[in-house]
Symmetry: C2
Subunit: 338 residues, 2 copies
Amino acid sequence: MTLTNAQCRLASRPTGLPEASDWSYLEEPAPEPGDGEFRVQVEYISLDPAMRSWMNAGRSYVPPVEIGEVMRAAGIGRVIDSRHSDFDVGDEVYGVFGVQRYAISDGSGARRVDTSLAPAQVHLGALGISGLTAYFGLLEVGRPEPGQTVVVSGAAGSVGSIAGQIARIKGCRAIGIAGGAQKCAWLVDELGFDAAIDYKAEDVRAQLREHAPDGVDVFFDNVGGEVLEHVLARLARGARVVLSGAISQYNATGAPRGPANYMQLLVARASMTGFVIFDYADRYAEAAAQLAGWLRSGELRSREDVVRGDVEQFPEVLLRLFSGQNTGKLVLALEGER
Amino acid sequence: MTLTNAQCRLASRPTGLPEASDWSYLEEPAPEPGDGEFRVQVEYISLDPAMRSWMNAGRSYVPPVEIGEVMRAAGIGRVIDSRHSDFDVGDEVYGVFGVQRYAISDGSGARRVDTSLAPAQVHLGALGISGLTAYFGLLEVGRPEPGQTVVVSGAAGSVGSIAGQIARIKGCRAIGIAGGAQKCAWLVDELGFDAAIDYKAEDVRAQLREHAPDGVDVFFDNVGGEVLEHVLARLARGARVVLSGAISQYNATGAPRGPANYMQLLVARASMTGFVIFDYADRYAEAAAQLAGWLRSGELRSREDVVRGDVEQFPEVLLRLFSGQNTGKLVLALEGER
């Protein structure tokens, strides 16, 4: 069976916002799996802000995607050929398969997902890296205590929306910061956040004074930039700032903006701590089981923004993340025949 | 006995570097102590970078000095009248007595110092708030382990010079960053730092690569600005950045500079934590005893930069801190008759 593979490969390192021309689209015969490998037909591609940082050269928590390489992406697909003892034809599998229709895997970083438990796209969102990032970042790095005030930026995104809900489940007051009245209404009315602040329309500092009169105990930051500065100015004594992301800075053309008032960490005897979700890999199963339990009980709600299309549409769909168009987990669902 | 008091009072809130005119100098009769109070003749005034931040309005870890108030300062003096049961005439006492020749105290924040153990100026430096800041900041916030690499900025200052020496005592590799070849030579030749980097003349990143090839485990930062960014780019996995001060930013006329590459905290799974020495007040005695032991054994060396003068010279002496002229603890020793 000769299959035609469609791929997006990195063509150039963007300055500022990426453009479609930063990837090259190509079609070529899909390779066959070798001994100890399987071939997967990718069905869902996870779109994540971190992808922008993978396009840059230089030191980060993962190596950059090299020019000419298939763009890195997590995804879920079905095994269509297997010469691997642990994966059988028909298995639904999660892995870092890249932005392409067919991928070869030796099984490293891959795991079967149970789509009877939840649809595939949920395994990329609340039950996937997004949910795990929210879970470990909030609970292990942020360590909120019941009754404390937790602020989440990028709160309508895939990670932020879960982080705020976990804070509520743990008995904290959850305040979300998001862009737009619709997203803010969703946070409060649908997800049960105690308050939401529309950073595009409202005075964030005044709103924080109102909704966090005793200060912010935990700040789960996905955004950076001005929003980070606003929250630093309102930290409670002993606060923990969790660095999950800095989406406002990923497309900066000059030097990114550091928090000018970072010495508020001294005033508040507070800490700002970075983490990388991969360090918690040996506890993923425990966390995913907990998240699945909350989904089942209805305490946690998951939302995916699924765009149906083909591999070639990847660049334009990715850009929705940076224009603030998506709510919840952004996923590209690949259509078409095998 | 009518005594003439000389005082520096805050006259205006400076923008940028303070000028002598930001204080008003005045002489007036010294008040008499009331019941439960004592009067001290101030002999040594501690000059600290933090004084600049006390001149600003707004939220900090202590209230600002108000316009018209005597400039806040720690000092050491001799009790000359007492109606306080715990302090006798002739006692040498540490306290926050202000920039003035005579002060009235009700004893709060005051304690007797043993000048037979060490000269008074040492009680403002290695055995005072500077030494305590180095001790608790490094050991409690930085938590270095033997064999780890500790970098200290402002290393030739009162806090930095002690912090680096404690790191050595605890079996760490100590690297100091300071301005000028003379200070750097002092750090290595006299204080036993493993290396020193002259940020005014050398490529700090290249020097860090050379002297900290496995990265920086603990960064004790007194400086902020560019130096902070250079070190963030070299953090080892799990590093701790201790925010002790940001002297490079205290006189900034615009917004202070935040670390543009603060997301290196994520890459390195590192934390940046602020602290305020006053929170450790109930452990000062334990730490001072430890510091005194190291001074006696010769493991720790103390240096004071004592300027003899009168109260009126306070502004010009303070400015030496910001021009990088002092090495070790800067102290104004008041001369003249009672």
